[in-house]
């Protein structure tokens, strides 16, 4: 049990260090860098022109479709990983089961393909 917990302590230390470095570097940097904000400097960058309208514009729905596909196939990997770890202890039956599962997702991929979701316009 100690073995198990201790390794997660190491992981926690790494995450803490990952947070500390940006905090320390940016705090030290504050002492070194100038701070002279002017109005043009703080305006939104638009290749030197006056910014037009909102910055957070509407963007293509296509990004959502990719996100949706990503969720589906990433969840598949959540099932694939434990299956792969335990595969040597399991039989031909689970292989067939996994082929059926992946096959159903592949039908989804083919459907998206046919619907031209994967085509970038």
């Amino acid at each position: 049990m100690d073995h198990y917990v201790n390794h997660y302590v190491v992981v926690a230390i790494f995450i803490v260090l990952g947070i500390l470095l940006p905090v320390v570097a940016l705090t030290v940097g504050r002492l070194l860098r100038p701070h002279k904000p002017t109005d043009p400097k703080q305006s939104t960058y638009e290749s030197g022109n006056e910014p037009v309208g909102e910055g957070q514009v509407k963007f293509n729905i296509r990004y959502y479709l990719f996100a949706l596909m990503f969720v589906i196939f990433d969840v598949e990997t959540v099932f694939l990983y434990p299956w792969a770890v335990a595969y040597n202890k399991l039989g031909l039956f689970v292989l067939v089961e996994m082929i059926i599962f992946a096959g159903m997702l592949l039908i989804g991929l083919l459907y998206a393909w046919k619907k031209r979701v994967l085509k970038w316009i």
Partner: protein
Amino acid sequence: MGAWLDEPLTWGDALAVFLWAVLFLLIVLGFVTYAIYYERKVIGWMQLRVGPNRVGPFGLLQTVADIFKLLIKEDTIPRKADRLLFVIAPALAFIPAFSVLAVIPYTEKLYFADLNVGLLYYVALSGITTLAIVLGGWASNNKYALLGGMRSAAQMISYEVPLVISVTGVILLSGSLNLRDIVAAQDGGWFWNWNLFPQIIGFVVFIIAAVSELNRTPFDLPEAESELVAGYHVEYSGFRFAFFMLAEYVYVYAIAALTTVLFLGGWHAPAPFLDVVPGILWFLLKFAFVVFSLFWIRASFPRVRVDQLMSLGWKVLLPVALLNVFLTALYLELFVK
């Protein structure tokens, strides 16, 4: 490292681990500094230029000078930006990049955390960086940044799927998610026992998807300088910008180390009579070769178009990665059991 982690942890031990981790962080920062120098030199030579050669002997201090320059540059936050998210995003890009390094084993004795779910941990944490990129693009309140961020996110999630599926073949062969067990399973004395050859399809998919995950040429569309305005980090300046770049190069370290562990046999020598050379040297050699190859790829290939990018990820790499999983499973079923 490993042995005394089996006993109950005292505060003294925790402090020692912390100091080791700080030392390791400094090593990683040193790697990033000289990886950038080396990359510029190598690409310079490949293009018949000399590369950086002004600051320090052979230009060795060029990147150090760049870092100090970034440190003393004014940090401008646009008036219209969402301040909190704008400040969080660069840190959020860096934290997972460094945290994933905790599970990489360098030799049998030299490693930090020995997690049963090491590979899953790596894959899960590295996905968080995509969030930082979307966040940075959105918080800037800038059209270029927003579109660059969305493109970047679309690319990264599209290639994350083949990346995580391509390593399933390795998991099948070694029956474990623990990175030390995966290296141990590749021990046969000779180099053909490494996962590279039985998993050659997985390896190719992994490398292509990894280069894309790293946003490097030929897949550097999110920050294609010559056609876009920088992309998601267009509004960032000074050290906040540096953290995005730092995260990218820490991922170069992470991916090179992971490739070595998963496919190139980690610390194992390529032939039994070469065992006299210490394992750490073999690890570093393979690691350096993978890093060099990433720079080599960057110098050799032209950038792909955005429509080719998405088609390659979903229509080629994903089916090939899935095919590889089932071929490996079938092979195990027919010849090993």
